[in-house]
Symmetry: C2
Subunit: 120 residues, 2 copies
DNA sequence: CAAAATGTGTTATATATATGACACATGACA
DNA sequence: TGTCATGTGTCATATATATAACACATTTTG
């Protein structure tokens, strides 16, 4: 069975770019630093297997100097620590997030800033 | 293997309360309306199996007239539609949610209201 | 008391998740 | 030209997920 190539294609692209500057970004060497089998990373990059677990996805993101949350999103996942925050106050966060579904980016950013600078 | 009894104990308690008023809330009848095997619901209530899938959890919540997001939280999950909203703008929502982690309820509620009444 | 309903124990799957091990063909390098 | 590194194909596995089917002992009801 084949899978969405978004995740695989993206990491392959980023890795190959890095490799042009640095031979340490071969598939094999990256796999070793991440702590997975080269064959497995190859399959991930070609979309032959579904995106890996949260932990492995985060390690890939860090190795390629990318944002873990963005990589998790490409992998169809949401970070466990975010989920935990939501699960502690499910009604509140569910309402907030659904409320913000259609809000433009700048509106959400404004909220983020308000909260950061807020005095409570 | 045994599992956290929070989910099971809670639904058993709610179901048994409902049953005092209405015989239709026997385990068997509830299971049939939900569309699962009575033996399976029995195991769920006793924590002999982990909480069921999102779909089944939501059907249980509705049958017992409870908030699906709260039931999903007890089941250790976050609603798929919330996850999808987050995955579409992972950086923005990740920052927002982590920012709100320690915020008191009333502060979050204020944000919800602001957004609802907001003009953009 | 007979029939029906109830909750539970046991057994069995089917599918997905998340990899690892090993071998091989090709290409780069010294 | 031999050695080394590279990417990939094939096979295997361990664990979790998410139930279903059936039988049985007990309780409730008419």
């Amino acid at each position: 069975m084949t899978h969405s190539t978004l995740f695989g294609d993206t990491i392959r692209g980023i890795r190959e770019n890095l490799r042009r500057e640095d031979r340490r970004f071969s598939l094999r060497q990256v796999a070793q630093r991440i702590g997975i089998e080269p064959a497995y990373l190859s399959k991930i990059e070609r979309g032959e297997v579904p995106p890996p677990s949260e932990a492995t996805t985060v390690r890939i993101a860090k190795e390629l100097d990318q944002d873990p949350d963005v990589f998790l999103a490409m992998a169809g996942k949401v970070s466990g620590d975010l989920q935990e925050i939501i699960r502690k106050r499910p009604k509140l966060f569910a309402e907030l997030i659904r409320q913000l579904k259609e809000a433009p980016d700048h509106a959400i950013l404004r909220v983020v800033r308000e909260v950061r600078d807020g005095d409570w």
